[in-house]
């Protein structure tokens, strides 16, 4: 095997050739085939580290193959194929290249055996993905992209700082499980936390993802945050702090998702909440919990991707993703509605869908460890997910009050991608054994017990009933045009106001100092002018007698001083 071979290389090489492939069906096919080439590079290899070499005394490993990297690698590859199908209609070369580089970077990071390789591809995901936001080509998307880039590059800079500290501390850059406790590991966790959208580090996602293009948002939803989950599972399994962070993550976005009018932003909050489940799984750290987190990450790539695709299809056909403008779309977009409902059922963990077989593992892991607060918090977060994404989102888009829009059904490529993704969501739910066989730990788990199936059906049905009654009685927030303040208020308004005030203060001081210096100079010049000006005392022609008097006085004073 060539020394520098990694699945990322297939994507990068393919990206360079994109401009030479004719636009249209041929290019669409080309973009869908590239991830297959990536799979061929790693699939079937026996576990181990391939393509390792030494650089300045550091051991670099481009391709570590084990169950965890293969699982995420496979999920990313399949998702990249589906994203390519979804974007079949697209003729924008920049987005096509950016998508390949972004997916390739994510693949490179997943297979990285060392932290330097991880860092390179970590930054690669940031740089490539911002073009999917800028490709919208508006003033707002440019600003959102810049904010996104600053945060993402910041995450990379913090990561490299952590790597340097770790190298000084241990003399190794191997990407293995770390113990939280030293400045190095705290720094690395902070870097991962930014990409993972930990609470207070999360707003870049809700700001940037809805600002991207129709297809860009779908692609963005697949890679960055799941890569961060992979990094947590690899680097910090069993770190107790993650349990508390995960619970906060799972719970706090619920209210925002219920308030938001922009359906793409509803989905980013929903995604944020689902990431919380995975972070809790990583924090619990038992083999079942790790399996649950990994399984939920993979399931989430597909059902969350499917939801983003369906809302993207609505945006593509109607020009808006605002709930206030939609409603009643089931009439003319029934296939998109069905696919959206499959995604909604999956996120609601309805039996026979992917969410049921993945989310339940994390809750069971909490149950087996007798972590009641964790278990009840995740149960509440599950109810929130059913409410805001399982019910409210399809209700507002496809049912609810009729917005009067009668758009055409989504184009063929989008329907094919949504159909295949929906089939995958159901296949995972129907055949959990085949899915579980891909998970990193060999832990027996049976999701379809009588108890589990009945209680989950009860949960979904009663929440649906509560939703129906709440809509009727006005117990849910109305969809209204507007925005919901989040932590971006800190840097978009508060920090901006503080910096503006400091700027005005400095400008005022500068102006005042300038005035003071100018008036001092004026005053000095006035005195000189007063003394030496045309009418000043020193400019006058003095009479000879007066001059003799002054000279005599000075001589007299000299005599006195000399003899005293």
């Amino acid at each position: 095997m060539p020394e520098y071979l990694t699945p990322a290389l297939a994507y990068v090489a393919a990206a360079l050739l994109v401009p030479f492939v004719p636009k249209g069906a041929l290019r669409g096919l080309y973009l869908a085939i590239v991830p297959l080439a990536g799979i061929l590079i790693f699939w079937g290899l026996t576990p181990g580290t391939y393509n390792a070499f030494n650089v300045m005394g550091m051991q670099i490993g481009l391709m570590r193959v084990d169950a965890l990297s293969q699982l995420f690698g496979l999920a990313f590859s399949v998702a990249a194929i589906l994203a390519a199908l979804y974007a079949w209609h697209l003729r924008d070369t920049i987005q096509q290249i950016a998508t390949l580089l972004y997916a390739g970077s994510a693949m490179g990071a997943v297979f990285a055996a060392d932290l330097i390789t991880l860092f390179v591809f970590w930054e690669g995901t940031a740089i490539a993905s911002v073009f999917l936001i800028w490709a919208r080509r508006t003033e707002g998307s440019f600003a959102a992209g810049m904010r996104y880039l600053i945060v993402q590059i910041g995450s990379g800079v913090i990561l490299i700082a952590g790597i340097v500290l770790l190298y000084r501390e241990t003399g190794s850059i191997a990407f293995t499980a770390m113990e939280l406790g030293s400045p190095a590991t705290w720094t690395i966790l902070a870097a991962i936390g930014i990409k993972c959208a930990f609470p207070f580090l999360h707003n870049w996602m809700h700001d940037a993802y809805p600002s991207a293009t129709v297809t860009g948002t779908v692609v963005l939803s697949i890679f960055t945050t799941k890569l961060a989950i992979y990094a947590l599972l690899r680097g910090f399994p069993g770190t107790e702090l993650l349990i508390y962070i995960g619970i906060a993550m799972a719970l706090f976005p619920i209210v925002f998702a219920l308030l938001e009018n922009d359906l793409r932003r509803v989905l980013t909050y929903s995604l944020n909440s689902q990431l919380g489940f995975m972070v809790v799984g990583a924090g619990i750290g038992t083999p079942l919990a790790i399996n649950g987190a990994a399984a939920h990450a993979v399931a989430s790539i597909f059902y969350q991707g499917l939801l983003f695709m369906s809302v993207g299809a609505i945006l593509f056909r109607t020009g808006t993703a605002r709930a206030t403008a939609l409603g009643g779309l089931y009439r003319t977009m029934p296939l998109t509605m069905i696919f959206c409902l499959v995604g909604a059922a999956s996120i609601s963990a309805l039996p026979l869908t992917s969410g049921f077989v993945s989310k339940s593992m994390i809750l069971s892991a909490g149950g087996y460890e007798k972590m009641f607060p964790v278990w009840i918090a995740l149960l509440a977060a599950s109810i929130g997910a059913i409410l805001h994404t399982g019910l409210r989102l399809p209700y507002l888009a496809f049912f609810g009050s009729d917005g009067g829009l009668r758009p055409k059904e989504a184009p063929g490529g989008m329907l094919a991608a949504m159909g295949l993704t929906a089939a995958l969501c159901i296949a995972i739910g129907v055949m959990p054994a085949a899915f579980y066989a891909l998970l990193p730990n060999d832990v027996p788990y049976e999701p379809y017990t009588f108890s589990h199936t009945i209680v989950q059906l009860q949960l979904v049905a009663f929440v649906a009933l509560a939703f129906a009654l709440a809509v009727k009685r006005g117990l849910l927030p109305k969809a209204e045009r507007g925005i919901v303040l989040d932590t971006d208020w800190i840097y978009r308004r508060l920090l901006s106001a503080i910096l503006g005030s400091i700027g005005r203060l400095i400008a005022g001081l500068w102006k005042g100092a300038g005035r003071m210096i100018a008036s001092s100079l004026n005053w000095g010049a006035g005195i000189v002018y007063h003394l030496h000006g045309p009418r000043g005392p020193f400019a006058r022609t003095w009479p000879t007698g007066a001059m003799v008097m002054v000279v005599a006085f000075l001589l007299g004073m000299t005599l006195v001083v000399t003899y005293i």
């Binding site: 020009g319 009439r331 003319t332 149960l379 059904e409 184009p411 009945i454 919901v484």
Partner: protein, 113 residues
Amino acid sequence: MTGSPETQSKSMPGSILLGIDTARGGRIVTWCLLLICAGLAAAGFTGHLHGYFEIEELPAFYGWFGFLVAIGLGIAAKIIGIFLKRKEDYYGAGSTNLEEHPASDLGMEASDA
């Protein structure tokens, strides 16, 4: 692309669901849900439900817990919304909240039906 409900054609692809978004349709859905909930709550008594905690032994725990938390979350969101909701122009011009999605990225077409 717009049209009034009166002009809706039966030939629309999703016509099988026509009426589901009316008040009558809403009532039918609610009653169906009520029946399903009752059925599932009854089904819970047909066998022993194994749980991890004592609270799960309570009758139809998942049902009423889900119902109450859902209503609670809705009300909480309504209250929090009073403090957090702002107009779309809050962050000024140059924000995607205000912009319409560019037509070059869209494929807006009306339904033929």
